[in-house]
Symmetry: C2
Subunit: 259 residues, 2 copies
């Protein structure tokens, strides 16, 4: 799902997400990946000032209900406040019954706004079995670091779901880096961006789904759209059989080099 | 320099390299990057069987002489035998006086032939000042691993010279991975491949020079050619100022994640 959110208009954003989930499910999709912070809009400083975190559990209930009602998996992204009071940017994967399978909190924050409003997390991406795919998540700027995707792949991921909020002008991120991440760590990546303007930021759109051979399975234009790809359950294993990048890494040397 | 070598015909290969150095110097080039094992041809098993390593110092002298005679830096690749008798695939950068500035030995060997004929090295890429550029080298399959290029960039490299021997069918390596390596580690990469057939292997050609913004500064076709690019001395610093990937890595977390 590539779409434009309305900042702090949760009802409108959840209605858009509900319509997208209905349409995607009707078209046979097993999972809908949505942009970073979509239900609340991408506006780090305003979220930190104006969003009441006590409302987050109800938003999560609404999102689980959308997945359950349409019988489709859903990857969504929201702020979360830790027990120690730190605000994180998180993502969650729920299955078609609305059950939470996986949570992730963003490790690499981008820019002054995010760093002022949020704290970076420290836990690597976990992996869960989802519809027969070993599935993981990272968020936006994380995926620009090969290390984050390596961590997911080395933990067993063959499918990586990436909510993002990428501004206009960074076309090389989806067109070059995302393809390379999929190719070098040999998994499928679905990267879902905002479109249009939110809180003064003009977003690129340009969401992509990239396969483990480095090909683009689908690529969006600048506007709102639902982008589909069919993922071959054997694609990651086949790619890893042709060139065994993950097995031929030399991690003990990398550590000795201090990287 | 993208070209076809004749296996074990050192005189012919050095003559081709000499002509390329003369032409490149006449066109104002400061350095000529040549393909993996070009002076001896890319044929790991035949090299190991039929190449007399006692002849290697004379080949190196010839190559230094080519650089000196034409007044151009030269990055070349040859086998080398360690004191313990291990055969490595190496690369060397000599300056325009023929003086050796930098040596590197390949860490990631590709395929059964290379692994049967050679031993993998363990030392990370070093960096040297060359014509005002902090310069490093890796070889072929090494560059497909983001970790190898990270190591060079973290050691200060802003220019990476990569002799390679990439077979037909791997177009995504120069077109996707090389651009991503340059973009994610924010340096300029010159990647020089063989063309044509050597010892039964059909090479891709397709050499590229990629800039730290992920752009292709130059890209070769399938046949022999000299490929040129002008490298902005400020390009790496400028890119690192826009998005500080190297500074915003979280190496202590990567280590804690076990990658």
């Amino acid at each position: 799902m590539q779409a434009n959110a309305r900042v702090l208009d949760v009802d409108a954003n959840c209605a858009a997400l509900d319509a997208a989930a209905q349409a995607a499910a009707a078209d046979g999709a097993a999972v809908l990946v949505t942009p970073e912070l979509f239900p609340v809009g991408y506006a780090p400083l305003r979220l930190r000032t104006d969003l009441d975190p006590s409302g987050l559990p109800a938003i999560r209930e609404t999102l689980s209900g959308i997945a359950r009602r349409h019988g489709i998996g859903l990857a969504y992204s929201l702020p979360a406040v830790t027990d120690r009071g730190n605000w994180h940017i998180t993502s969650t994967l729920v299955d078609a019954t609305g059950t939470e399978l996986l949570n992730y909190a963003k490790v690499h924050l981008f820019g002054d706004g995010e760093r002022e409003a949020f704290s970076p997390a420290e836990t690597g991406p976990a992996v869960v079995d989802f519809n027969g795919f070993r599935t993981s998540m990272v968020i936006c700027y994380d995926v620009e670091f090969p290390e984050a995707v390596r961590a997911a792949a080395l933990a067993g991921a063959e499918l990586l779901l990436v909510p993002t909020a990428l501004a206009h002008g960074f076309e090389t991120v989806p067109q070059v880096l995302l393809r390379a991440r999929a190719l070098e760590s040999q998994l499928t990546i679905a990267y879902a961006n905002h479109s249009g303007n939110e809180d003064g930021c003009e977003f690129l759109g340009g969401s992509v789904i990239a396969g483990p051979d480095g090909s683009l399975l689908a690529a969006a234009g600048p506007g709102a759209e639902l982008l589909y790809a069919e993922v071959d359950p054997d694609a990651a294993r086949n790619a890893r059989g042709v060139v065994p990048y993950l097995r031929e890494r030399r991690p003990e040397l990398y550590r000795s080099w201090g990287i």
